[in-house]
């Protein structure tokens, strides 16, 4: 019987302990593999790696890898803890620490290799389906199946390294004393949490102060830069941890004094929470952080996805905007406009033919009030000594200082319009002046043809054709289309959306499998305990109540904390974010709640079944 034989038998005879570890490793590998399959897809070859899309794909893959690293390390830790007693028996029978480490190392590598192989095979099976999904979400035309050799090589290589590194590090954590201690008595008594209310108050005060400074954009924030954010992040984390642990400690103390404590199964529940207060608090903290990550990810990415149409319109206000340069060939302009009219004859559209004059050196435009009214479908009248300043850039206020201006210096500012008039950046500012004055201005004339379509977001095909046929030619014509912008922006945002959903999926399932692991490690102890109480006369239903409540606390308390934090953040930022953002956050929270509830039911059923099984 060789040493390797023991390694293999040790796994085979205790398969269920290994299965959950194996599955969670495999899961993270599959996710990474699918990401790389997308990243190395041939139809993305033309993509510039420096573009938003390229960078976000890279970042996402790195994030997944980093996350897998932490997640697998955590799984090994949990797994080792569960195996401590077996290791203790090995030690007692005379295995040296070195042999134990070799045993654990080989076991982990064996499982790791199996997980990688299984993940690649399963990944290849899922890939066509996944690519189809990606194709639909990304609205890409070519996203077919291919043989992802690069992805396979990268996944295998990176995860082999990961398993070797993690296993080597983790075997250092095997604690001889703890293993042998566990042999003597099965029951490990946890130290309970001491109350540190002062610390809690200090921590809350610091966090609130820091977030308030951030909100009012105090100069301290600017002067400390990145350091401030690190401190802020750390303080938020420690506050969350203290709130969870101290809150639990405090609530349990109150509960123990209340008359309800001696009712039904309350005492059992409270004592369960009490006995495992520290590990429960750690678990709650971990899950809270993961869920907050999910919420943040989705809220930001979903909302950017939903704002594409609005953002496009804010930058390029019209479906098609054709500006002829003063130096342009008149016959070309005529032909172009005829072409446009012909192309758009089949769809419902409004046409506006207007003009403005431009001080080309300063990029200031002048437009008559009648043209302005035509474009905006309104009837604003200006006195002879008045003008209106309209923005030429998205999110940049128009210039109102006209003391130097030859034509305007005697005029009075009637009003300011901060929405940009034409495509963003074409002119700095447009001054709307009375018609009479406009005629006297001696600057080159820019003839402008504007077409506005009904239901413009549906005409992406048409926009693509027109912008292809009529590209912008400097000094001749300037063509801009919000539809085209929307189309290309939507692709980028879809990819982000896609990545975001994948990431939140990973975080979410990680949270759930960490919880599952956690329950697994104490399953045996719990089983024995409940078996004893069952003999005294605890019905299955009563046992179910206790388990349900305990699990509900483990799952929904982190959820509640994360949701509260999300909404506090949103409330603090309510002036900066749109209502769509709030709506989307609310919607995704509901979705997550449903997901959570389903996983709660699933975990509960599974756990309960295993508690009762022999």
């Amino acid at each position: 019987m060789s040493f390797n034989h023991i390694v293999v038998q040790n796994i085979l005879r205790d398969k269920w302990t290994y299965v959950s570890y194996f599955l969670s490793s495999m899961f993270s590998i599959i996710i990474f593999f699918l990401f790389t399959v997308i990243a190395f897809h041939p139809s993305l070859n033309s993509m510039d790696p420096g573009s938003t899309l390229g960078i976000s794909l890279m970042l996402a893959s790195m994030l997944v890898y980093l996350f897998s690293f932490i997640f697998i390390a955590y799984s090994i830790m949990a797994f080792l803890k569960k195996k401590t007693k077996t290791l203790g028996i090995f030690m007692i029978t005379g295995a040296s620490m070195k042999q134990i480490r070799t045993l654990v190392f080989r076991e982990n590598i064996l499982i790791g290799v199996m997980a990688i192989i299984a993940a690649i095979i399963l990944g290849l099976v899922i890939t066509p389906l996944f690519l189809m999904g990606a194709k639909a979400v990304l609205k890409a035309e070519t996203f077919g199946m291919y043989i992802p050799i690069k992805a396979i090589v990268l996944t295998v290589g990176l995860f082999l390294v990961l398993f070797v590194v993690i296993s080597k590090i983790m075997t250092r954590f095997i604690n001889k004393e703890a293993s042998i201690q566990l042999l003597k008595s099965d029951i490990v008594i946890e130290k309970s949490i001491n109350s540190h209310y002062l610390l809690l108050i200090i921590s809350i005060t610091i966090s609130t102060t820091l977030s308030y400074l951030l909100k009012i954009d105090h100069e301290i924030v600017v002067s400390f830069g990145i350091l401030y954010y690190i401190v802020f992040f750390a303080s938020i984390l420690s506050t969350i941890y203290l709130i969870i642990s101290q809150g639990m400690c405090f609530l349990l103390k109150i509960f123990e004094k209340s008359p309800a404590y001696m009712r039904k199964t309350n005492m059992l529940l409270a004592s369960n929470l009490n006995a495992k207060m520290k590990s429960h608090a750690n678990m709650l903290f971990l899950i809270t952080i993961l869920i907050s990550g999910v919420f943040l990810c989705t809220s930001i990415l979903f909302s950017s996805y939903y704002n594409v149409a609005k953002d496009s319109e804010a930058n390029y206000p019209y479906s098609f905007q054709y500006i002829a340069d003063p130096k342009a060939d008149a016959s070309m302009v005529k032909a172009d406009v005829e072409y446009l009219e012909k192309q758009l004859s089949t769809v419902d559209s409004q046409k506006y033919f207007i003009e403005f004059k431009s001080n080309e050196d300063k990029r200031l435009g002048y437009m008559s009030v009648s043209n302005y009214n035509l474009l905006k479908n309104q009837t604003v009248s200006l006195n002879n000594n008045e003008f209106i300043a309209v923005a030429g850039n998205h999110k940049l206020a128009p210039i109102t200082n006209i003391d130097e201006d030859h034509y305007l210096k005697h005029l009075k500012l009637a009003s300011v319009d901060e929405r940009n008039l034409l495509s963003t950046g074409f002119q700095q500012t447009y001054f709307i002046v009375p018609d009479l004055l406009y005629n006297s201005i001696d600057y080159p004339v820019y003839k402008t043809y504007i077409f506005e379509l009904d239901n413009w977001t549906t005409h992406t095909e048409l926009a693509r054709k027109i912008t292809e046929d009529l590209p912008t030619i400097s000094q001749q014509r300037y063509v801009a289309s919000k539809i085209d912008l929307y189309d290309s922006e939507l692709f980028v945002k879809s990819v982000m959306f896609f990545i975001g959903s994948m990431l939140s999926l990973i975080f979410l399932s990680a949270a759930m499998s960490i919880l599952y692991f956690y329950l697994q490690t104490t399953l045996l102890q719990e089983k024995e305990k409940y078996l004893g109480i069952r003999k005294l006369g605890l019905s299955k239903k009563e046992l179910f109540t206790v388990v349900s409540k305990e699990l509900a606390i483990l799952i929904f308390v982190p959820f509640a904390i994360a949701i509260t934090m999300l909404f506090v953040t949103l409330f603090a930022m309510r002036t900066m974010v749109s209502t769509t953002f709030l709506k989307v956050s609310l919607m995704s929270s509901v979705c997550f709640f449903i997901l959570f509830f389903v996983s709660y039911l699933f975990i509960r059923k599974n756990y309960f079944k295993r508690l009762l099984s022999n």
């Binding site: 029951i187 008594i189 008359p259 001696m262 009712r263 039904k264 199964t265 309350n266 005492m267 059992l268 004592s271 369960n272 009490n274 006995a275 495992k276 305990k529 004893g532 109480i533 069952r534 003999k535 005294l536 006369g537 605890l538 019905s539 299955k540 239903k541 009563e542």
Partner: protein, 253 residues
């Protein structure tokens, strides 16, 4: 003897596996009110299976069990749990105390499950802890007390709801000789003062000699039955003789 608390008729238990094994092969037994009976027999004779069947932990294959005239196996899970914590008290070899609870909470556990009024709970707790002499243990955690103390706590928990039948499975198996004496004296006083019927499985002749009557089981069948006279020493000798006859207990001589 009066009415019977427990009536077992033709009790059978088969373990079905690769080799089907009959652990109990038709046992008839009656336990009267306020009787203290010990069950003895060699290892593997079926005495624990017998107790488990009676204590509603292990469903028999055939036969009938009536406790206070009721058949516990006709009850559903919830009713059965209620039945257990009102009619039966359990004492186990490994104490079966809940480590996450204090001594006091452990003792009160059956009462809290029934949500008894708080003052009634404490009244009973005071009474029973005085009776068993464990008042100073009440605020302690389970891991802070010794084996003998643990068994006394377990006994307190087993009788706090005033069961009609106390079932004990090797209650002294994990104890040293001093603690064995203490615990067995407690059983005796529960029997005489609280008037609780007791059914106890043991392999220790000394422990068995505290009972009024001993039944011997061999190969899943009732083998012999002896009654205690006035002299415990003589009773002990009788037990030893029977065991020698049975062939399972010689090594303990």
């Amino acid at each position: 003897m009066g009415n019977s608390i427990l009536q077992v008729t033709n009790l059978q238990k088969e373990y079905i596996g690769e080799i089907t094994y009959k652990a109990l092969n038709g046992i008839d037994f009656k336990l009267g009110e306020n009787e203290f009976v010990a069950v003895m027999g060699p290892s593997g004779s079926g005495k624990t299976t017998f107790l488990n069947s009676v204590s509603t932990i292990d469903r028999p294959t055939a036969g009938e069990i009536l406790i206070n005239g009721r058949n516990p196996y006709s009850l559903d899970d919830e009713e059965l749990a209620k039945f257990r914590r009102s009619e039966l008290g359990f004492v186990f070899q490994d104490f079966n105390l809940v480590h996450t609870l204090t001594v006091k909470e452990n003792i009160l556990l059956p009462l809290t499950l029934d949500s008894l009024p708080a003052n009634k709970m404490h009244q009973r707790l005071t009474h029973i802890s005085q009776f068993l002499g464990i008042e100073e243990l009440l605020p302690k955690r389970i891991y802070e007390i010794s084996g003998g103390q643990k068994q006394r706590v377990a006994i307190a928990r087993a009788v706090i709801h005033e069961p009609s039948l106390l079932l004990a499975d090797e209650p002294t198996g994990n104890l040293d000789s001093k603690a064995v004496n203490d615990v067995m004296n407690l059983f005796s006083s529960i029997h005489t003062e609280l008037k609780t019927a007791i059914l106890m499985v043991t392999h220790d002749p000394y422990v068995a000699s505290f009972a009024n009557r001993i039944i011997f089981i061999k190969d899943g069948k009732l083998y012999n039955e002896i009654h205690r006279g006035n002299n415990r020493k003589q009773f002990y000798q009788e037990i030893m003789d029977t065991l020698a006859f049975l062939g399972g207990g010689q090594h303990e001589l």
